[in-house]
């Protein structure tokens, strides 16, 4: 289903730990078959705003009945700081759902869901989807500090296997998600690991998942200007089944990629085999029509 663009009215905006939970009235987007890993792109501020570009946020929940879409966001730069100062009743322009979601096909999964910081935002609906397809889930949720942990209570309600870590030990174990991940995979004999968080985490998770024989589905975060595939700013070097590496857009081909196909160490560089690469197209093979 194609994404919809709506002038969405803010129904609620409230703090949740160090983050904000934003609930938008956006019936069309809410009913547009939102799947876990989809994101929304928000235009913040009216015609006198100096921040032009869209901001991408994972969809935390979409409720077709209520006609709402929820996001969890952190204040980072100018746009998110301005968004945090919005009030219920204010309008933001939303395009959603966007991107390629976490794959759930190929039979029931025994999946470990790994979230770093606000990267935990899509994990509850992902768990629900895995469970609804007859699968099993475990969680590993990490953050720098306790107030940046998200979704622990929801996770506990969905699975007995919930591991929590913080960098400073202010909640759960001190450490990183890679600490408890092997145990979490073992506990459910994982077939799949789904992760969302900073790049180094996604890389490390992929290594551990591969070592354990599980598939690694990673939701990457590359700086986006449009979120809709127009600008080519959000590319990542990804190796296709044909062995050729292409700069693929994380807003259309991603944000979820098979972690083993992403050349993590080459992000932010121009690998020699890409320069003038003969097979350089903006699409992954068999993905020519985004509509």
């Amino acid at each position: 289903m194609p994404p919809t663009q709506t002038a969405a009215v803010i129904r609620r905006i409230e703090p949740v730990g160090a983050y904000h939970r934003l609930t938008l009235d956006a019936p069309a987007a809410a009913s547009a078959n939102v799947r876990p890993g989809h994101f929304g792109a928000l235009a913040i501020g009216g015609p006198t705003s100096a921040t032009l570009l869209r901001r991408a946020f994972s969809i935390h929940r979409a409720d077709p009945t209520a006609g709402t879409v929820e996001f969890i966001f952190a204040e980072h730069g100018a746009g998110t700081r301005a968004l945090a100062r919005h009030h219920p009743g204010d309008t933001v322009d939303l395009i959603a759902p966007l991107g390629t979601p976490f794959p759930l096909d190929g039979g029931p999964q025994r999946a470990v869901l790994v979230g770093g910081g606000y990267g935990s935002a899509p994990m509850a609906i992902l768990a629900e989807a895995v469970l609804a397809r007859g699968g099993q889930v475990a969680f590993v949720l990490g953050a720098a500090t306790a107030d940046r942990l998200f979704g622990v209570a929801e996770a506990r309600a969905l699975s007995p296997h919930v591991h929590v870590v913080t960098d400073d030990g202010s909640a759960g174990e001190r450490g990183q998600v890679t600490g408890p991940l092997p145990a979490a995979m073992a506990a459910i004999d994982a077939t799949d690991v789904h992760s969302c968080g900073p790049m180094p985490m996604l890389k490390a998770v992929t290594t551990l998942a591969a070592a354990a024989g599980a598939r690694s589905h990673t939701a990457v975060e590359e700086a986006m200007a449009c979120g809709t595939g127009l600008c080519m700013s959000c590319v990542l070097p990804v190796t296709g089944p044909d062995g050729v590496t292409r700069f693929l857009r994380s807003c259309t081909s991603g944000p979820v990629f098979d972690g083993t196909t992403v050349r993590w160490d080459d992000t932010g560089t121009l690998p020699a085999d890409l320069e003038g690469a003969a097979a350089m197209t903006p699409y992954a093979p068999k993905e020519t029509d985004p509509a």
Binding site: T228, G229, L230, V235, M280
Partner: protein, 341 residues
């Protein structure tokens, strides 16, 4: 020619009666003046989800070269006040891919296509252009001469009149009689009219203005340039005054007879029908939306329809009549002042 202060003398007319067609040269009239700017609408498939492509005046493709290109490393983009910097670097899959996979799809969807082409050498412009004659849907070529010329130590073609002349001449030589050739200029020159003159002398059927303005930003946390490519192109409303000035200067030179008159395509920070009208009054016969599409991919039809309403309100029957009106002196020079009451 329409009156100097159209509002003062005539009653508004029905928007449905406005002739929105954009005459872009002897062999090209578009149904409306709203195009997309090169590099800001992918190859069209993504935009089509928000703006049916056949409704556009035309779609300008991402600049295509004879061969595939990876573009630059990331970060390729950073936001600036009312603008953005990009160093995408002409990522693209080359003319073969365009002709085989993209143009047929675009034609099928009713898009009129202005193909933006470039090369690292003069000959590469020609190599690319020669492939476009007779291709379905293609209505013209935009020679993006605002790109580095390896033969001239990387100096941008459009920074040098001779290199500009050579590139445009090479494209004209192979484009055939049916495809008008627009030359796309950079504002980063001491005198844009000199470059415009070189291009029109080389036979350009029109000029596109402007490409991005060279800029850069530094990340004050990492102390490094924000873009992997160090410098990048500034676009968006921030540069609109520069773009309007370029269009106005070149149109003025054409009015005064120092430049051969050709139609102009205006771009640079257009985000509304008001902005589009500003370029048209400055002398543009058509306008292109770039960065604004990133914020609002549904914008083109709003701009087209609001522009129609605006012309109707000003009782201007045809878009073509509004072109260059800012150059007309009112009878007396007392400028209308706003009544604050």
């Amino acid at each position: 020619m329409s009156p100097r202060h159209p509002t003062a003398h005539r009653d508004p007319i029905d928007p449905a009666d406005i002739d929105m067609s954009a005459p872009l040269g002897a062999r090209l009239t578009l149904p409306n003046p709203v195009l997309t700017a090169s590099g800001c609408a992918g190859y069209g498939r993504e935009l089509h989800r928000f703006t049916p492509l056949h409704e556009l005046g035309a779609l300008t493709t991402k600049t295509v070269m004879p061969y595939a290109r990876s573009g630059r490393a990331t970060p390729r983009m950073t936001e600036t006040p009312s603008g953005m910097l990009n160093s995408i670097g002409l990522q693209g899959s080359g003319i073969d891919h365009l002709v085989t996979d993209e143009l047929p799809w675009l034609a099928e969807h009713g898009a009129r296509v202005l193909v933006s082409i470039a090369g690292e050498r003069t000959e590469e412009f020609a190599e690319t252009a020669v492939r476009l004659a007779g291709q379905p849907g293609v209505v013209g070529i935009e020679a993006n001469i605002s790109c580095p010329n390896v033969a001239d130590r990387g100096l941008v073609f459009a920074c040098d009149p001779d290199a500009s002349f050579a590139a445009v001449r090479a494209v004209k030589a192979v484009a055939g009689p049916d495809l008008p050739v627009y030359a796309k200029l950079t504002p980063d020159v001491t005198r844009i009219t000199d470059i415009a003159a070189a291009c029109t002398e080389a036979g350009a059927d029109g000029l596109s203005m402007i490409n991005t303005v060279l800029g850069m930003a530094i990340d004050t946390h990492t102390f490094r340039p924000s873009l992997a490519g160090v410098t990048g192109g500034l676009s968006g409303p921030a540069i609109r005054p520069v773009a309007v000035r370029c269009v106005y200067q070149v149109y003025a030179a054409m009015r005064s007879g120092t430049l051969r008159p050709v139609p102009l395509l205006g771009m640079g920070g257009i985000a509304s029908a008001r902005d589009a009208l500003e370029f048209i009054l400055a002398g543009a016969s058509g306008i292109a939306l770039g960065t604004a599409l990133f914020r609002d991919p549904s914008l083109p039809l709003k701009v087209r329809d609001d522009l129609r309403e605006t012309l109707a309100r000003h009782a201007i029957r045809s878009l073509a009549d509004a072109v260059g009106l800012a150059h007309h002196q009112p009878e007396d020079d007392s400028r209308p002042r706003r009544t604050p009451a």
